[in-house]
Symmetry: C3
Subunit: 402 residues, 3 copies
């Protein structure tokens, strides 16, 4: 069976800007501008083929005081992002299906109330509740003390308010909506990574595109790492839910995960004391490096997929956190340049990439909402096609020890 | 002499809500609501028997930028609370008598400008100036490094802005005013304690009630600790002021406090180089566990009392910080579940309590302003009645060493 | 040649307040007041001899959200300060000459987004981009772990929003404009230093005066340290630019700086891998302790000078950070009470000063924009006059080892 993978070129043409677009600058530090509460609708834009609104709201109260929430609400999908939290994706809803999960952290926590160094470098956990979190870019992975500092859990990007925020809507079909933000990781003498992160959505579709460009603005070669920590809970995740991916090699993250080496393809229901089981995966890809992974419910009629390119994101972490519902019942599908080991291990094992002065790296991921049996089957067939009859090597021992 | 202790049932009936009440939601994170500047008066509410205003103000400037100050001003008492600082009680004034103290920290410091980890876990000291601070609930006590993290001094509750803030006024006598806030200590994988804290005040009275309910919202049994750090300076505290409590056992917190074992009942005036002297107390209580403690000035015509239940709060810390006026001349009367030792010691010595999943614990304290000789005498008589002729055991050595 | 040094008395008379002045209180925590966006002009004030505006703006977006920017724009100089960042001086422009530099940190970062403890105590680098930063007052210098805490790089003053902000304009000639802010370093039991910092500017001139008074508000003797970290990049700094000062003794800060002991008078152009070279300087001064230092471009027609008093500020750090333009091409001229060693070394070597209870220390510095050859020559001549024919002792070895 010949499967038509989404063409990267097509994706990028959707995501890129056009002269035929209306652009709205919501935040621009250079102009001292931040519109805060703002909205625009398809009607305002004279679009008749689709019905959508794009709305930015400044949240109030508690630890979310001052956090911005940007919502794209359309006939098909409702997408929620937080500009204040690195333009992370809070949740996506469509066809009665929710992409996202329920964290005990139930506010959009403003980074001003987060101390990434707390709990020995685990302060990131005080804000973690998103569907998609960028773990990077100066470093990522588990917290570790090294070089006289704490490399805090999963880096700083997610707890950095964007310095620029732009909404762009094509003014002709397909009326692509793009939300774009600039994350600056700038520290004198230490870091000068600037990343344009974006989400693009074509009204009427059930996919959305994440397209990020990280640039080393400095004069020295710098390390970077990124993990796209993409998290799904109910209703997709349930007992008997399945993880499907074209896998070249899989290994347990640590000794605990050795117990799950025979059952990594399926999920348990909410399970007390399960905590988390993590697997390191090297995926297969097609000739262009394109690959995709998915999680589907047991019945195979609700799922979520992520398509990405292994030239950009060569490794993949499968995070099975099928603990209780209140503890956070969630699985992470995490394409990355690195596994989730501390940066010290990632350096040793040569997975930390570098950017030369002025150099950029880009990452494109297509996230799909699979809301019926047919969509799930088709997505799975594409994955099987990439796997073909190639073998999956199961490595019994962890490749590193924290 | 038969003494009438305040009945806990009566207290709770005052503190609880009623259908016959007007409720004002000032902050609600679920609705993205935070009214900020707001006020209401007895006149607005059609109350004729009393004259009061309840006012919420957003402070500005310096380290208090964005901190909320909620003031209940009535004919008898003026009560100041800070919703941004865990609804701590800043001060209470009535009959020309002030409950509270003068800290060198003279702003209502917004937690966004506080780093609890600074000074080796003493960042809490950058904001400490309240009449009553909740030290808890995930942990409390002196800072300590353990379990790969810093348990920072006295926990996080006081530096957590409330996620919900409700003002409730009974619309018939006794027109009880209740201010209620929700403190969330939610961290993915680590903590899921949510605490409704409240202060209730009956116009015309000179008491106010603190009633808190901490709930373990998670699926795992969790530790909790609480110390109600209640702090009094001038004019009550002075040379010859007295601490009065029904005491079963008292011991010095550390070697330094051994020097004060004979004089713990009285206070020095402001004393250079005194620093702080701390005593661990197990109080006596009546059959229902109800007890009370007080501090009174030398003349016995100005005092402050706290009534609490030893089933809820079995231990008590006496903190004598009779240092100079500018350094902070203050005594802490601190009912708690724990002493002020680091959590590591409190765990060892079995004073750390636990909440099962979904379980709550509640704490009710009645704070009294004793503004004349008669009030002081009566309060003291009640304490003596609890002590009766039972002995006070003085333990010469500290029960633990930090 | 007899050189007329700026008289300290004359300076202070300019900086001090007058009954004949209009005063505008922009921020006052005691009144809960913070005007935020605000401006006034010479026209508003009925001043006809000069044309100026003073404007306060609340910045928005990214990490500068809520930071205030106060700009004095006049015919001669445009001076930018940030009240939210300790009233640090961002930049000064006049006659087409910029005093300041280009840091990779290109926002006025609100301290709420800075964690001074991060990177092992180097969080200060996340905000550093000013022309003049106060490093102090509780401590300064390189980060060090001691006394159970991290003394973070260069102290806390610069990341403290001012608690009071006052603009004062003389209502007769010379119409001196003074901006004054109060920095509180108040921590219960630990610190009670309050510093009135100010900048005064006489319209029409090319100098401005920094006049600070730090007071120990507590009852105990306290250490203090201050370094006026004054930073210049292009166009003054360039290959062949010169540092000129009357020097009694100079020594390398560390082994790396030993390589620059013969060439400390001149600067390299932007130089990859140069990093920073630091020298400790004891300046000569006149009979009153008055001295001055400068940096000038190669042609000697663009320069910047600082005049200060060695009784107040006895030591001086020369920071040559002639790394690449993007990395931060900058030199620091840093009068201080201390060198930039960690406080532990500064204590050992007796450079940490103390304030008795209630005692104040004051510091007056005159910053000059030298925008033509004549101004540069004249300033240099004054320096030479102070040096006279006195020798400069070059110490070959660092006086301390970090």
């Amino acid at each position: 069976m010949k499967v038509q993978l989404v063409s990267l070129a097509a994706i990028l043409s959707l995501a890129s800007y056009s002269a035929d677009a209306k652009e709205f600058i919501l935040t621009d530090v250079e102009k001292g501008l931040a519109k805060g509460d703002w909205s625009i609708s398809s009607e305002d834009l004279g679009v008749k083929e689709h019905n959508f609104t794009i709305k930015n709201t400044v949240l109030k109260g508690g630890k979310q005081d001052g956090s911005e929430l940007l919502t794209i609400a359309s006939d098909n999908l409702t997408i929620k992002l937080s500009p204040t939290r690195g333009l992370g994706i809070l949740s996506v809803d469509g066809d009665g299906l929710r992409l996202g999960w329920d964290s005990p952290v139930d506010e959009v926590v403003n980074p001003k109330y987060i101390n990434l160094e707390s709990r020995g470098g685990l302060g990131w956990l005080d804000g973690f509740n998103e569907l998609m979190v960028r773990c990077g870019f100066e470093w990522t992975g588990h917290a570790v003390q090294a070089d006289g500092m704490i490399y805090t859990l999963h880096g700083r990007a997610q707890n950095t308010p964007v310095s620029k925020l732009i909404v762009n809507v094509l003014d002709k079909a397909p009326y692509t909506i793009t939300v774009k933000g600039l994350i600056k990781e700038n520290t004198f003498k230490k870091s000068n990574l600037e990343t344009w992160v974006s989400l693009s959505y074509v009204p009427g579709s059930k996919d959305f595109i994440v397209h990020d460009v990280v640039t080393n603005k400095g004069d020295y070669t710098r390390d970077y790492q990124i993990i796209y920590h993409s998290n799904y809970g109910t209703p997709i995740l349930e007992e008997g839910a399945r993880f499907v991916a074209p896998i070249k090699e899989i290994s347990p993250f640590n000794d605990y995960a050795k117990n799950g080496l025979k059952t990594w393809q399926t999920y348990l229901g909410p399970t007390k004391d399960f905590d988390e089981m993590v697997f390191n995966v090297y995926p297969y890809a097609d000739d262009q490096g394109q690959t995709q992974v998915m999680v589907t419910n047991r019945a195979g009629d609700k799922g979520a997929g992520i398509s990405f390119n292994t030239n950009q994101l060569p490794v993949f972490t499968l995070w099975k956190n099928t603990d209780t519902l209140k503890q956070g019942y969630v699985t992470g599908l995490e394409p990355g340049t690195s596994f989730a080991y501390p940066v010290t291990i990632e350096r040793e094992q040569k997975r930390v990439r570098q950017l030369e002065p002025g150099q950029s790296a880009e990452f494109t991921l297509v996230y799909s909402l699979l809301s019926d049996k047919k969509a799930v089957e088709q997505y799975e067939a594409q994955i099987k096609s990439i796997q073909g009859d190639k073998e999956t090597k199961v490595v019994e021992q962890p490749i590193a020890k924290e």
